[in-house]
């Protein structure tokens, strides 16, 4: 069995979770495009839904400390059904993986490296991710502390540099532009990209930490405080983007990058490049966490004791599928429409929210039955 991470500090754990909310700096497109001036309302609804995600994940994993979701499924549902449910999770991990890789390659190609082959960008970041997973995922936690610090610094820098461009009246009129249905739909989608993706941390990462009970399960309040902090970060990003971009929010694909390009110091010092470097650093974290989940889940499903052996074959399969199925065959618009309208709503969200809820219900019922039997 693989080595466990000893004595992870609370700060390292909290920043690892916080990074998923800080992704709002680059994923902030959804609330802007749907909500415009109401994007901050969508963000608040997102934070509320996000709490449901984390509550489910935290409650479920605290019942089985140091067990991955694969092991929990086997314990709760039995060997065969447990494996079937784990395969569903694996599909979610894979879909997230291809989605993130596509988004990353489009962003980098569109913003900084238009002439570089997209596959090469993906292969390079993947190699780095595989190397990190092989060396031990603890390095990702240590990295998250630095990453969170610099992301926070960047938000402060952006807020100051855009000071002249703020027009807070762009936030008006309140709650009139977007129908409630659209607000909720977008909030579900957005919360899934931010809070929902913490399942990689809770399900596949927490079990690797030996002192997880001391730093997470016994201090649940701190985890929720981190979520609030992340929520505030998301809200600030949303308000800044709306105040600067105004009624063009509905049209802009990369709102924060667009807002940065309006700063007055652009000619002297290209802030966009700093932003893109930060973006690549965050995406590296996200991609590594997803790869880690896929590799560990597959190793457990196939009963491979040393997960390191499966890194290379799984990596080759993922990159081949990404290239031949997604990059070369699916256009950006068709993919976005299909993924966000159907796959997410009917597959990803039900599994990410529904299955943990179902598992918790089964655990509860089993406990009740056991107590009754004992009586």
């Amino acid at each position: 069995m693989e080595k466990k991470i000893n004595n992870l500090s609370s700060l390292e754990l909290y920043t690892t979770i916080l990074i998923y909310m800080m992704v709002a700096l680059v994923y902030g497109t959804f609330p802007q495009m749907t909500g415009g001036s109401d994007s901050w309302i969508i963000t608040i609804v997102t934070i509320c839904i996000g709490f449901v995600y984390v509550f489910l994940y935290l409650t479920l994993t605290s019942n089985f400390p140091n067990k991955t979701i694969f092991e929990i499924n086997i314990l709760v549902y039995g060997k065969y059904l447990g494996k079937m449910i784990s395969i569903l999770y694996l599909f979610v991990f894979l879909s997230l993986c291809f989605d993130t890789l596509l988004w990353f390659s489009y962003y980098v190609e569109g913003a900084v490296l238009p002439d570089s082959p997209r596959l090469l960008i993906i292969v390079l970041i993947s190699l780095l991710s595989f190397y990190t997973i092989k060396g031990g995922i603890i390095s990702l936690c240590r990295y998250s502390v630095i990453l969170a610090f610099f992301t926070f610094l960047e938000l402060i820098a952006i807020s100051i540099l855009l000071f002249e461009d703020y027009d807070f009246s762009n936030l008006l009129p309140i709650a009139t532009n977007t129908p409630l249905k659209d607000i909720i739909n977008t909030a579900i989608l957005y919360s899934d990209y931010s809070y929902g993706e913490t399942l990689h941390i809770f399900f596949m990462f927490f079990p690797m930490i030996s002192n997880i009970s001391d730093i997470a399960y016994k201090k649940k309040k701190n985890i929720y405080k981190i979520l609030i902090l992340g929520g505030i970060f998301m809200l600030i990003v949303s308000i800044i983007n709306t105040a600067v971009i105004g009624n063009l929010s509905f049209m802009i694909r990369r709102p924060t990058l667009y807002a940065i390009s309006l700063t007055n110091i652009r000619t002297q010092f290209s802030m966009e490049v700093i932003f893109i470097i930060q973006f690549i650093a965050i995406e590296f974290f996200i991609i590594t966490a997803i790869y880690n989940s896929i590799i560990r889940m597959t190793s457990q499903l196939l009963n491979i004791k040393n997960y390191r052996l499966s890194i290379v074959p799984i990596g080759i399969i993922i990159l081949s599928v990404y290239y031949f199925v997604f990059q070369e065959n699916i256009s950006e618009v068709v993919y976005d429409d299909y993924y966000n309208s159907y796959w997410y709503i009917y597959f990803n969200v039900p599994i990410k929210l529904g299955l943990p809820f179902l598992t918790l219900m089964v655990i509860k019922m089993k406990k009740i039955l056991r107590t009754e039997k004992e009586r």
Binding site: T176, N247, L248
Partner: protein, 378 residues
Amino acid sequence: MIKKLTLLTLILVVALLSMTACARNIVQLENLGLVFGTGLDKVEGDNEIHLTAQVIEMPEENKNMEKKSGQSSCITIQSKGETIFEAIRNATDKCFRPLYFSHSKLILFNSELAKEGIQDYLDMFFRNTQPRPNTWIVICEGEARTILDEIPGLFIDNLIKTKKERATISVQNMHDFMTRLVSKTTAPITGMIRLKEEGERIDLEFMGTAVFEEDKLIGMLDEKETRGLLWVLGEIESNTVVVDSADQTGKIGVEILKSNSKIKPEMKNGEFSIKIDVTTSGRVVELIGREDITDVKIFKALEERMADTIKEEILLSIKKSKALRADTFGFGDEINKIYHKEFEKIEGAWQEIFPKTEIDVEVEAKILGIGTILKTFE
């Protein structure tokens, strides 16, 4: 350890060779056609778009190829195409260098083309990553090509920045122009220029503010009306107001230090009205005449006259905008922010309602200083 180092070296070598795009497509600075100004013209009887790109000249450039822009180190390249992108590609063939728009300072639209609508031409500049949203949009009388042949884009950019600081023009960048264009009620505006020939000397003249209905040019505000507009928009930061002396024989120059404007929409009996509050402060920088501005009564009267002068400019601007039936001030958007439900019903008819809307202007002017001397020399 050796394995790790080998892997790391391999990654670094691959990254160095490929991420800079050198492997496929060598792009050196001297091989790029750095564009400083773009001009778009309409030629009668030709459906194609006529593009003029003002490109920085390289030392080895064939000087006979295209016309040099004024006395600057820029050359202009003309091309045409069914779309702007095609025209750019055609220009690249002439220039032998790919045109690079990240440093483009302005897009010049010929007024004839602007009368037909410019929205379709802006799409290319927004959709691609090279052009920046803070590129100026300027309308020109006469051919854009002629202006770019004579005046360097960098010079026009500097002139716009200086004039904007002095608040005498209202040139908008792509972002601001598009924000107005997307609005259902606010009329897009931007600066208008032309070439002025005085003997052998050719100068650039700012004519005023071009006013659009949707994306079509419909009229113009002159310099005074433009200032009135800028007072309402709160975009006057540094300017001079010239006030007549009490006996109408002298002039007093007041430098504006600070100004603020508030647009307050009101609704009475289902009808909207607008209240504009402008507050400004300045200091006396020049006195032509014998007026004793140290006298409190005269001083107060001077403040009142200054407020009247500003109010007059604002009213002129409102009158012209109403005549053009173009809400250049963004009153519709302001009403929408506060009375959204009520305004939604009349939004479509705002163009007809705006000229009839009651607009009340209040100006409060304060003079904070009179300079280093008290009375003028006698």
